[in-house]
Symmetry: C2
Subunit: 353 residues, 2 copies
């Protein structure tokens, strides 16, 4: 049995999304148990959860809102559903926690309660984006760390590899370093230094390093994992969401233009619906907070029940496939590489183009 | 009359794209003249250009290839079509140059020959991306500068504003600072410092600063201009191109799946074609190299004749609307702001979240 602690109050939608997601998740995961954390009144109209032997309600009197500053979430809301869910992971009662709440608060509370894993300086946020190969590319960091060193990027690469092994079952996944060109002389100083560390890690067998990749490689699926700092990752993720939303809006507008185009939509319906399914980012919902001494998954704030269910499934898979141990082993093995001496001092002389 | 110098050999396609583009451009721009720079044999089958009184062929014996390192382009190919075209801008014979050649070489040769404008530390690459408002968002820098200071970002904002005024005729365009959140406390140290400088510039009337924007705002069209460092801009641009390509591929694949979906495509044809037109990034081809003492426009390397023609039109508009003077005036006015003293020393104490 795997127990997942669920922050039922978090996100833009709250219990109206999280509770149906929990019911659907339990139905498809017979080996799972859930701790439903939230305010008592939220569960009133859910007898099928209250009466389910694989569910237990845990009361929490407060809710972290999407706008709460980190300090408020941390210091003034000590009985929030978010915090209580994570506390259950810390206490070993649950093997993972899932929340659709405010990312900054979730990361801060998770770091505070669970602490960072040995050998990790900074936890990272990793998520999947669909790619043209029909699979998904795991990208990290997506916003936890706006300023990163080369060592942080190496840690992200190692943790991302462990995640893909645990979630996708793919052995020896490939890692790309996000850059502005494929050549090793490209990029900022930090990126060039990270390139050196990642190549060293490939030589010692700690990573399957592909080399530099560019923004379009995320969607081409050139590598299983793409590593970048949280600023770049966050911008790439949100720009892609913005573009996908714009394209969706264009298609809708064009098909609703006249009676003829509406008729066209009717005929094109099977295609539009297949396309929609293929592009459905809800399927990829559930970002991992990696590098902590416990598993925490972040659902998109606007997730509906279907999307939140995916995040629950992802957290379950990670716990079931022992993601935590996989990260720990890989980081311990790669530790000698994460050493400032590993970067040659003459690297600064490589010209930036 | 405005004269544009054209590197006819550059890009993946070369004269097969640039020469028909020149012919079409001349037909639609009666006040334009072109200097066609390239190897003599390239023009042989183009009597309509050779005989056009508004065209003059300038011979250049060499071609900068897409793979040429900057050093090769700069030192070993001094008679390249790219360099000769830019030399004509320097000499005042042409008011702008356009090339589809290798970006690194184009920027390096442009900087070397034209020099940087007074008050500008680093030239930037600015281009337009379509937005959901039916217009376009101007984004810079798109890859010329991988490491930027706050002062560089302020210079980009000022130059981008001048570009939008010159190209779109929009007075007082809004500027957004690309960040990982809207709040002023978000982002890296450089971004927070840039926020201070941009707010100061708004107070002195040098900029219409909107505030922080996120990746999705590029496609929402929240602001006319989005400012970022070249690393982030390049990743956002290429990720968006990658996603658009993937979506295009999905639509094509879904419509070709069976006889029924092909029939659907037939009925949906007017919509697909309107959608394609709306999404046609070729319309936005032609990135400005800003901050130089002369106008240079970069066409996408894979541009076809239609796309290259857009780049020519953009260069013409920029010259016609005196972009260079507009940038110079705005930078001179904003110069007092570009002063490290303008950043309060206690900014470092703002927490990074």
């Amino acid at each position: 049995m795997i127990t997942v602690a669920v922050d039922c109050m978090g996100g833009d939608v709250g219990p109206a999304a999280t509770l149906p997601a929990c019911a659907a998740f339990l139905a498809s995961h017979p080996q799972a148990q859930l701790l439903l954390v939230g305010q008592p009144e939220a569960f009133k109209s859910w007898p099928q959860l209250l009466n389910n032997v694989r569910c237990r309600v845990v009361h929490a009197s407060e809710v972290v809102t999407m706008d709460d500053p980190v300090e408020v979430a941390m210091r003034r809301k000590k009985d929030s559903s978010m915090r209580v869910a994570i506390q259950h992971v810390k206490d070993g009662v649950a093997q993972a926690a899932v929340s659709a709440g405010n990312t900054g608060a979730l990361m801060a509370i998770s770091r505070y309660l669970l602490k960072t894993m040995e050998g990790i300086d900074r936890p990272a946020i990793a998520s999947q984006m669909p790619n043209a190969r029909g699979g998904a590319t795991t990208v990290l960091d997506l916003g936890a760390n706006v300023d990163c060193t080369a060592e942080h990027l190496l840690q992200f690469a190692v943790m991302g590899s462990a995640l893909v092994v645990a979630i996708s079952g793919r052995e020896d996944p490939t890692v790309g370093l996000l850059n502005v060109g494929e050549e090793v002389i490209k990029g900022s100083e930090v990126i060039k230094q990270a390139g050196v560390l990642l190549r060293n890690a490939a030589n010692t067998g700690d990573l399957n390093f592909f080399g530099n990749v560019e923004g379009n490689d995320i969607f081409k699926g050139t590598t299983d994992i793409v590593v970048c700092d949280g600023f770049v990752g966050n911008v790439a993720l949100k720009a892609s969401e913005g573009l996908a939303t714009m394209i969706g809006g264009f298609i809708k507008a064009e098909f609703s233009r006249s009676i003829f185009t509406k008729l066209g939509a009717l005929f094109a319906y099977p295609v539009i619906s297949a396309f929609k399914k293929r592009m459905d980012y809800r399927r990829y919902n559930g970002a991992a907070l990696l590098g902590l001494r416990g598993l925490v998954f972040k659902s998109h704030g606007s997730a509906d029940a279907f999307a939140f269910e995916q995040a629950l499934a992802r957290a379950y898979d990670a716990a079931h496939n022992q993601l935590l141990e996989k990260v720990r082993e890989r980081i311990a093995h790669a530790a000698p590489l994460i050493d400032p001496e590993a970067i040659p001092s003459d690297l600064k002389s490589i010209p930036t183009i």
